[in-house]
């Protein structure tokens, strides 16, 4: 058993750390905190993503042909740890890079790969994913947006919702029903849609804390060229599950992000007093910090176990999907702790904001309840109803 990283990975880490120290400015970090919610910070983040890509530091796991550097799994882990630790912004196209690009690499034509992928990495194009619908949330396979072939075009009608970056996107990876008579999982196809096409209407959705993070997207007789099909006709579920399994491989950012948040929280708490006593001498607060800290460390090891199993042929036993549930729950505990202590003192906008936005952690990307049901049947072997 060995938890240490091999020397070549430490070398990779050293180079990346040096590059980040030289290039990552406070402005970029601040823009990352705002997640590009206003036009200025959005532009700052675009420039940063391009800088990172041009220097060969994004996306490290991809093949060189598409702008990557073919990093090993452990290098990817070190990459996630270092970029998070340095508080580098999450790429604007994080969903595109994690969830859409793998499907393009697997099913796309050479022309699509070479044209679309490098522009995605540099954030020259912004991507969104059209999956959920008002009547297809957790039950994604019941989606109703229709695409009917008419000559050389698919004619698309329907509505998507919770579409992250929908109001900023140039491209959409869209899931549509192409065979209404087939069983629900087998009648779905995947299209790559230019968001500038006539008939697409986007309405930003304002979230509980007042930000427009995602959108509703309406398709009204939108004519999409037939060669926009990604993967086999009626094989969209396959394409979707490819992307979902890639999403889970990026578990390292989960614990690294919580570790950074925890350190920031403790730093903020260090200056605070309640009833004339330093908060960091209060046993109840220390206890809650301890609870969160233990779970974050164990989440880190859980993610490492998942990666070790991939590398050495062990049994991951669903540890990646477990990691997602734990990450969500601990993220909410951390936000609750921060607000419970700092909220009454006022002036800590970041943490009251976090308290609100942490609600999404157990919903976005699949609810914790759905995740648990999947773990129950697939990992524990409990019977389905």
């Amino acid at each position: 058993m060995d938890f240490s990283y091999p020397p070549e990975v430490e070398q990779f880490r050293k180079e990346l750390r040096a590059w980040l120290a030289a290039n990552l400015t406070d402005d970029v970090v601040a823009a990352g905190r705002r997640r590009g919610r206003d036009p200025d910070t959005f532009e700052t983040l675009r420039v940063w993503d391009a800088t990172l890509a041009d220097a060969g530091w994004a996306p490290v796991s991809w093949p060189q042909a598409y702008g990557g550097r073919g990093a090993t799994v452990l290098e990817q882990l070190a990459y996630a740890e270092e970029t998070t630790d340095a508080r580098a912004p999450v790429p604007l196209n994080v969903i595109g890079m994690n969830n859409i690009a793998p499907a393009i690499m697997q099913y796309g034509t050479d022309a699509q790969k070479l044209e679309l992928l490098p522009r995605m990495v540099r954030a020259d194009d912004i991507w969104c994913q059209g999956m959920s619908e008002p009547e297809a949330g957790s039950d994604l396979a019941s989606l109703r947006t229709r695409a009917v072939l008419d000559g050389d075009d698919y004619v698309v009608n329907g509505q998507k919702i919770w579409t992250s970056l929908g109001h900023r996107a140039d491209w959409c990876q869209l899931y549509v029903r192409t065979d209404p008579d087939a069983p629900k999982h087998t009648g779905i196809s995947c299209l790559i849609v230019d968001m500038a096409l006539p008939g697409i209407e986007v309405r930003p959705l304002v979230t509980l804390n007042g930000d427009a993070d995602f959108a509703e997207v309406f398709f009204n007789d939108v004519r999409v060229p037939a060669d926009a099909l990604l993967g086999p006709l009626n094989g969209g579920w396959q394409v979707a599950t490819t992307t979902l399994s890639h999403e889970r491989a990026g578990a390292a950012r989960l614990y690294a992000q919580l570790e950074v948040q925890l350190r920031d929280l403790v730093a903020d708490l260090a200056d605070c007093e309640v009833d004339g006593r330093p908060v960091l001498e209060d046993s109840a607060t220390l206890r809650r910090l301890g609870e969160v800290a233990v779970r974050i460390k164990y989440l880190e090891v859980l993610c490492q176990r998942s990666i070790s199993a991939t590398l050495h042929g062990g049994n991951a036993l669903g540890s990646a999907s477990l990691a997602k549930s734990v990450w969500a729950e601990v993220g909410q505990e951390l936000a609750a702790l921060a607000f419970d202590v700092l909220g009454p003192l006022g002036g800590h906008r970041r943490w009251s904001d976090r308290r609100l936005t942490s609600r999404s952690l157990t919903i976005a990307g699949g609810t914790t309840q759905i995740n648990k049901s999947v773990t129950a049947t697939r990992v524990l072997g409990l019977p389905r109803r």
């Binding site: 060995d2 260090a270 301890g290 609870e291 233990v294 164990y298 199993a309 129950a376 409990l382 389905r384």
Partner: protein, 360 residues
């Protein structure tokens, strides 16, 4: 970065598992021993020694297999899964590590040889709290909650004398040694209050506070592995039950409410397994990480005990009976939770260490 067990570690696990299921199962060994202060039989203990389980941490020159805490953890997990009531943690971990960490090889040789071949059972105390005093070659005072004192032939006592803290070896049959069994939540672990009334003792070492801290860490980490084994076992029993117990014409494991209870157990067990693996590795391979890893494992003990609570909920009424084994697992986990102080104290310690790390 390789967190998988080696083929040798898997073989060790399987050997111990098979032995315990054949010779020391809950029905044939653990239950008969619940009211027996010895905790195990000569025959079962000799069998464990023959497998190499008592000498796993003993150097080869004294008949052991000189393995690391990772292998000790493999054994501990199986013993916990089988609720083994014998003095393995005391003799094969606490005493062995006291002798290898704190004592020169020459002075520890005889005891280590006996521990490895099973002819000697030793225990150590007190790991924390007030210590007896020593004067010359005599120890006097009390040790509270000393594990396995009835079966142990040798007690290694940490006592204070004019030279600071010393580690003393006491023959448990000496005049002046009296032990009284302590009732506590876990009948699969034997605890005693010991009194030493001017008992002859051999001074083996003058350990520093760091040495003693390292020993306590080792014991906590091995105990955590034992608890992980117990939690895994009771979870598996409950999940298997949920697959076959039928109500409303279906297995109860098909109901989401029950499924989610099972996944809650699984999540807690896998988090604990993560912590235990890291701590077992750190114990020998990364000393700077060892102490915090041990404190974390102890801090998680309260949460780990909820696995048995949830298992009993899945079993329903039958899980609340004496006849069913679930309560034995709950008690094993509560015993770990109460060992050397409750989880709250350790959670606060993790918080304090974090606050110190961020401020420096």
């Amino acid at each position: 970065m390789n967190l998988e067990l080696t083929d040798e570690q898997v073989a060790l696990r399987d050997t111990v598992r098979r032995y315990l299921s054949e010779k020391a199962s809950v029905t044939t060994h653990v239950r008969p021993m619940l009211d027996d202060p010895m905790g195990t039989t000569r025959e079962v203990w000799a069998g464990l020694a023959a497998l190499g389980a008592t000498g796993v941490l003993v150097p080869q020159e004294y008949g052991g297999s000189a393995m690391t805490m990772v292998e000790a953890g493999v054994v501990a997990e199986e013993l916990g899964a089988a609720l083994h009531p014998g003095p393995w943690l005391s003799s094969a971990v606490a005493a062995t590590r006291a002798l290898t960490r704190l004592v020169t090889p020459e002075d520890g040789a005889l005891l280590l040889t006996g521990i490895a071949d099973g002819s000697t059972v030793a225990t150590v105390g007190p790991l924390t709290g007030p210590r007896p005093t020593a004067e010359g070659r005599v120890v006097r005072g009390d040790v509270a909650a000393l594990p396995d004192a009835a079966v142990a032939g040798v007690v290694l006592v940490l006592a204070e004398d004019g030279r600071g803290t010393g580690l003393f070896a006491i023959d448990a049959t000496s005049a002046g040694v009296s032990v009284t069994e302590r009732t506590h939540v876990d009948q699969t672990r034997k605890l005693f209050d010991a009194t030493f009334d001017d008992v002859p003792a051999q001074r083996l070492a003058s350990p520093s506070a760091d040495d003693i801290g390292g020993l306590v860490d080792d014991v906590l980490i091995a105990y955590a592995a034992d608890a992980l084994g117990a939690a895994t076992a009771v979870m598996n029993l409950a999940v298997d039950y949920a697959k076959v117990r039928r109500q409303f014409d279906q297995p109860i494991g098909s109901f989401q409410a029950v499924q989610h209870l099972c996944v809650d157990m699984y999540e807690t067990v896998e988090l604990a397994r993560s912590g235990v693996l890291h701590a077992l590795w750190a114990a020998d391979a990364a000393p700077p990480e060892r102490h915090l890893a041990a404190v974390r494992a102890k801090a998680f003990a309260g949460q780990l005990a909820t696995v048995a609570d949830t298992a009993i909920q899945v079993f329903g009424g039958i899980g609340y009976t004496w006849e069913h084994d679930a309560h034995l697992y709950l008690k094993r986990l509560l015993g770990w939770s109460a060992f050397l102080g409750g989880s709250d104290k350790y959670l606060q310690e993790v918080g304090r260490q974090l606050a110190m790390a961020v401020s420096s």
